[in-house]
């Protein structure tokens, strides 16, 4: 028995099957994690190799190059880049998306094993590092304190960090910029010399004094006592009274030659949050954990804990990626609800009956819920892509149910019982319904086969639409007939008394529309030339207009946060940097009223550490993160604010370079890179500067920067080996001694309440701050005499060479620019022009890449997808109509869909991004579906013996409503997506705009141009067919004649 007959005959079973689906769906929804995007692993592996003491150039030739050559043959490798700095080589291997990175890492390890012998002896073992999205912080908090600032780290460690680490899903917690306690002993070198003491001696004495030691057991009487010496410092005050030497019989106390401070380690990094002292806390999640849930639990715990913290300690969120995720998801859920309401209204408008509307609309939740089951089974999350896929599908899933229901009501109106009508009416149309679904699948299924980054984004969309549409078809041929048989009744056509009834108001309107349309169709069939030429005119016009479209990769999102990185004169002192940082803070406070929070860190944290992976630090660098108020509460977008901040920063004379970027968790980035390949530093640097200068002149270009760092000034001690040898010294002795005096010697550790703090001995600050001070440092020789550093060598100022970047095994410099008020595509074009006009040496190659390169790859993928979809749609239609020509007639409507897209994008001033492009590809299926409905009916009418013209006009009139209805459900289903302005809407509204524009244009044109084209192509073919049949059976005529 067929599926629809069984469904009607076993209504309870049918109901139970769908109930089961709904239950599974709801279960899946509850258990699904929520995230912004489908989980993707950034396909890159980095090989770090340290080679202490080697310069950038040495590193390049001896480490980076051999490694590059070795790993170059690893499978699925897309690109090799490297950066060689002093002491460090970083080789970055970028793979194709979805490469198995653990396998790749193994391959790299094998490749490195071969090359290990070729690397210098002193170079350390290369380290393989796999970057993971779970290393990106999901939340950042600013913690400020007044009185408790000094003990903040210990306080936080105990009360906050440990409990937070226990939350499941939290990967790690990192505190940056926390003050560290240390006992600093700062000696006066003149006094040391007077008493004939050295830093090392003091350190040695401190270490020797600060100890507890078990010294054996004593037996006394019957007892056995352990014997201990307790010499550990009871308090830090104790240290100053330690005797460090003797002079003329007098004890010399430490306080005589040095000051002892038990306070915070001297920091060259300064953290200010809203102008107050503070630290930053970063929360990282484990890979695969639910960002939204982890963030919620972290926030909850912080709320609980903050009550028990001292009153002056306050915790403020700087950013919380989960907020943007929740915002986007809520926004899309709202969009989905509006779409649902619109679709219900459209169905009600055309069908005019509540029960019928209910039956049709019921397919929506059922089909959509299956998408969640798919997400759960495939281990995906509810994210922006899956939800937008649902918004796309929502208008399409009702179509099949509508076709089935219409036919059932037709049978009921003719007097069949609902039960019979349900079975037999479905029997008549179920095949046609499946074929139209196949055309949609033909467009969306290829998306699941896409590779690369576009593939990662759109595979889920392809699957979800395919699955929901197939489910909707299954529901349409089982649930819809079943419900129709139960709910629809053989209602006599009663004349409703109310003047506002559907029959009085809307039906005449629709009837009038049908009539007008058929009149127009008649006219156009007799004026084919006018129609064809005006259509061609529209097409040519839109192609001409297309050149005015701006292109971009993926629209940027306003996440209400931006980062500022300010660079001052290299080598500038930290306090000067801090001064500028304070000034920038005050400037921002005055000029950015939308500011919610500002977190500033100036200078370099000497510990380097975690944050330096994301930001470059140095005593001359200021990093600022600014959080803005919610999108609804401000007028200016983050980009406008960023632009005005750029203007403000440009006016500060101390700043030599700055960059202000809106933060985003999105894909891709938004930069055009000009890559200059060439071996000679000077040539390429000069060329890069030249290009950077001309890029500055392009109106839409901002943030022009050169990747090759400026040379950094440093003080270098150049020692004379002969002189050193004469004093019995060597480079190692001298440099250790220098380190102890300037950086400090960690003599011992002071213990208090189970925590250990460094005790550091060094020179007082005022004795280690100039070249002459350094040259004046006295060093102890093995002979017991002392000698000045100035006698052993000299201190000279020196510029260290820049970092060396390579890509594809060639040296490269990148000049990058970010667009403002212009699209990525336009900027890339302008830059290309500049680069082409430039005179360049023959040995230099210049390429334009960056996000623009991704964009082009993305568009190539899309073009491929479009071609594949067109072929598949053709295949489906050719088999449906059993004709090679018919699909062409139908596909005539596709170019007009693109005209509509172009027009809609131009009118709304939207850039052609990958997303809008994807919308256009989707149109192929949706538009063709409309034309199929029409052409199929014309064929039917022709087969039923109507004259060509009459068949066309009749079909047009009869099919107008179904076509309008499916077009309207899809268009209105997309409308909330297109109009949405909330968080994350920037990404998806272009798709809505593209589909609406294309669908409206193509629907209007389909209803006119397709009939006309059918008329042009149809005549000849049909006559021939009749003649052919006649010729085949000519024997019949002869016999009949004889008879």
């Amino acid at each position: 028995m067929s599926i629809y007959a069984s469904a009607v005959k076993k209504p309870i079973t049918t109901l139970m099957v769908f109930a089961a689906i709904v239950v599974f769906g709801i279960y899946s929804i509850i258990r699904l994690p929520v995230d912004l995007y489908p989980e993707i692993e950034f396909p890159a592996i980095t090989v770090f190799t340290t080679y202490p003491g080697a310069s950038a150039q040495d590193i390049e030739t001896n480490v980076s190059e051999p490694i590059e050559n070795a790993v170059n043959t690893v499978d699925d490798l897309k690109e090799v880049r490297s950066v060689s700095r002093d002491n460090l080589s970083i080789v970055i291997l970028e793979f194709e998306y979805e490469t198995d990175l653990s396998e790749a890492a193994n391959n790299i390890r094998d490749a490195l094993a071969f090359v290990r012998d070729a690397l210098p002896e002193e170079a350390d073992e290369p380290n393989i590092f796999k970057f993971n999205t779970s290393m990106m912080p999901i939340q950042m908090f600013a913690i400020t304190a007044d009185e408790h600032y000094e003990g903040l780290e210990k306080l936080l460690e105990e009360r906050l960090v440990n409990p937070l680490n226990r939350i499941s899903g939290v990967g790690s917690i990192n505190i940056a910029g926390a003050p560290v306690r240390e006992v600093a002993i700062e000696a006066d070198p003149r006094k040391l010399e007077a008493y004939n003491l050295t830093i090392e001696q003091i350190g040695g004495i401190l270490a020797a004094e600060n100890m507890n030691m078990p010294t054996g057991n004593i037996e006394m009487g019957e007892m056995n006592y352990p014997l201990r010496v307790e010499g550990e410092f009871k308090s830090s005050d104790y240290i100053r009274d330690i005797v460090v030497g003797n002079a003329n019989g007098q004890a010399i106390y430490l306080r005589d030659v040095a000051t002892v401070r038990d306070s915070l380690r001297e920091m060259s990094m300064d953290e200010k949050i809203d102008g107050k002292d503070g630290v930053r806390m970063l929360v990282m999640k484990q890979s695969g954990a639910n960002t939204v849930r982890v963030a919620r639990e972290v926030n909850q715990l912080i709320d609980e804990v903050s009550g028990s913290l001292p009153a002056d300690v306050s915790i403020l969120p700087v950013f919380d990626t989960s907020e943007f995720i929740r915002g986007s998801i809520n926004n899309l859920t709202r969009t989905l609800l509006f779409a649902l309401i619109f679709v219900v209204l459209v169905v009600l408008f055309f069908l005019g009956r509540w029960r019928a509307t209910f039956i049709v609309v019921l397919t929506i939740p059922i089909s959509l819920i299956v998408a969640f089951i798919y997400l759960r089974i495939s281990g995906n999350s509810v994210n922006v892509i899956s939800l937008s896929a649902l918004s796309i599908a929502i208008g399409m899933v009702v179509d099949d149910a509508i076709v089935i229901l219409e036919n059932i009501s037709k049978h009921i109106e003719r007097g069949a019982s609902p039960r019979e009508a349900a079975i037999y009416a479905t029997n008549e149309v179920w095949l046609a319904v499946i074929v139209t679904t196949l055309t949609i699948v033909a467009v969306f299924f290829p998306m699941t086969l896409l590779g690369g980054m576009t593939g990662v984004m759109f595979r889920q969309l392809g699957w979800i639409v395919t699955i929901t549409v197939i489910t909707s078809t299954l529901a349409a041929i089982s649930l819809t007939p079943m419900l129709s048989s139960k709910l629809l009744s053989m209602k006599k056509q009663t004349t409703s008394s109310s003047s506002w009834s559907y029959d009085r108001k809307i039906r005449p309107l629709l009837d009038k529309l049908d009539l007008k349309y058929s009149q127009f169709l008649k006219w156009s069939l007799s004026h084919k030339r006018i129609i064809v030429f005006s259509a061609l005119g529209i097409l040519v016009l839109s192609v001409l207009m297309a050149s005015r479209l701006s292109t971009e990769f993926i629209p940027e999102t306003d996440e209400g946060r931006f980062n500022i990185s300010v660079e001052l004169q290299p080598g500038i002192r930290a306090d000067k940097t801090i001064e500028v940082a304070r000034y920038v803070d005050s400037l921002l406070e005055a000029n950015v009223p939308e500011m919610r929070l500002i977190s500033t860190s100036a200078g370099a944290d000497d510990q380097g550490g975690f944050m330096s992976m994301f930001q470059s630090t140095g005593s001359n660098i200021i990093n600022i993160t600014v959080g803005l108020t919610d999108l609804e509460d401000r007028k200016r977008s983050v980009w406008e604010i960023v632009e005005s901040v750029r203007g403000d920063l440009g006016k500060i004379p101390d700043i030599i370079d700055y960059s202000v970027t809106a933060a985003g968790t999105g894909f891709g980035g938004n930069q055009v890179d000009v890559e200059i390949f060439g071996y000679d530093f000077q040539t390429t640097t000069r060329l890069a500067e030249q290009i950077a200068d001309s890029l500055e002149l392009i109106p839409g270009a901002r943030e022009v920067s050169i990747s090759r760092e400026d040379e950094k000034p440093e003080m270098r001690v150049e020692l004379d080996r002969e002189k050193m040898a004469a004093h019995g010294l060597n480079t190692a002795n001298v440099s250790t001694a220098l380190y102890n005096r300037v950086e400090g010697m960690t003599a011992t550790r002071y213990r208090e309440e189970g925590e250990e703090y460094d005790v550091v001995v060094r020179f007082k600050k005022e004795f280690r701050n100039s070249i002459s001070h350094i040259e004046n440092i006295a060093l102890q020789t093995p002979m017991g005499t002392s000698v000045r550093l100035g006698e052993l060598g000299k201190v000279v100022e020196h510029y260290s060479p820049p970092n060396i970047e390579r890509k594809g095994r060639e040296r490269m410099v990148t000049v990058s620019a970010t667009p403002y008020g212009a699209s990525l595509g336009d900027l890339a074009q302008a830059i290309n022009q500049v680069v082409n006009q430039m005179e360049k040496p023959r040995e230099v190659i210049i390429e334009v890449g960056g996000a623009f390169e991704d964009q082009q790859e993305g568009f190539t993928d899309l073009a491929l997808l479009l071609a594949l979809s067109l072929v598949l749609v053709y295949i489906v239609m050719a088999s449906q109509f059993e004709s090679l020509k018919m699909p062409f007639i139908i596909m005539f409507s596709i170019p007009f869909a693109f005209s509509g897209v172009i027009l809609a994008l131009l009118v709304t001033n939207t850039n052609l991004s990958i997303i809008a492009g994807l919308g256009s590809v989707m149109l192929v299926g949706i538009v063709v579906k409309n034309a199929i409905v029409l052409v199929d009916y014309i064929n039917l009418m022709r087969d039923r013996g109507y004259e060509l013209d009459e068949a066309i006009v009749r079909s047009g009139r009869l099919r107008l409503r179904p076509v309008l209805m499916t077009a309207a459900t899809t268009t209105l289903g997309m409308l909330p997506l297109a109009l949405s302005t909330g968080e994350g809407a920037e990404i998806w509204s272009p798709m809505g705009i593209a589909v609406i524009g294309g669908l409206v244009a193509s629907t209007i044109i389909t209803m006119i141009i397709v009939p006309v084209i059918y008329r042009i192509f149809g005549t000849k073919g049909e006559r021939n067919k009749k003649q052919r049949v006649r010729a085949k059976f000519s024997f019949m005529e002869e016999k009949m004649d004889k008879a």
Partner: protein, 97 residues
């Protein structure tokens, strides 16, 4: 004994079944999904994409006095909606085993 051959749009199935029960006609043979077209009016019922409707056919052998009742019932059925379509034809039965 006469045989009555009833061809009807499958949408009439339940009504025809009820009609036979109502007239206490016990024996019949049925063919499902037979195709055909009328000599004068109505759409062909061919089960194709062009003419999607399908017929069922029933042949029943009844006493002569039941034949008129049966034909009348068929006529009433047809009257509900001419577009759906039902026809009945009567033959003589010459022998039976």
């Amino acid at each position: 004994m006469k045989s009555v051959f009833i061809v009807f749009n499958q949408a009439h199935s339940e009504k025809v079944e009820y009609m036979l029960d109502y007239l206490e006609v016990r024996g019949f043979s049925q063919w499902n999904e037979v195709f055909g077209r009328g000599s004068h009016t109505g759409d062909p019922h061919m089960g194709t994409h062009t003419w999607p409707e399908k017929n069922h056919a029933i042949i029943t052998v009844v006493e002569e006095e039941k034949v008129n009742k049966l034909l009348e019932a068929v006529k009433r059925l047809d009257e509900i909606n001419k577009e759906v379509g039902i026809r009945a034809f009567v033959w003589n039965i010459e022998q039976m085993v």
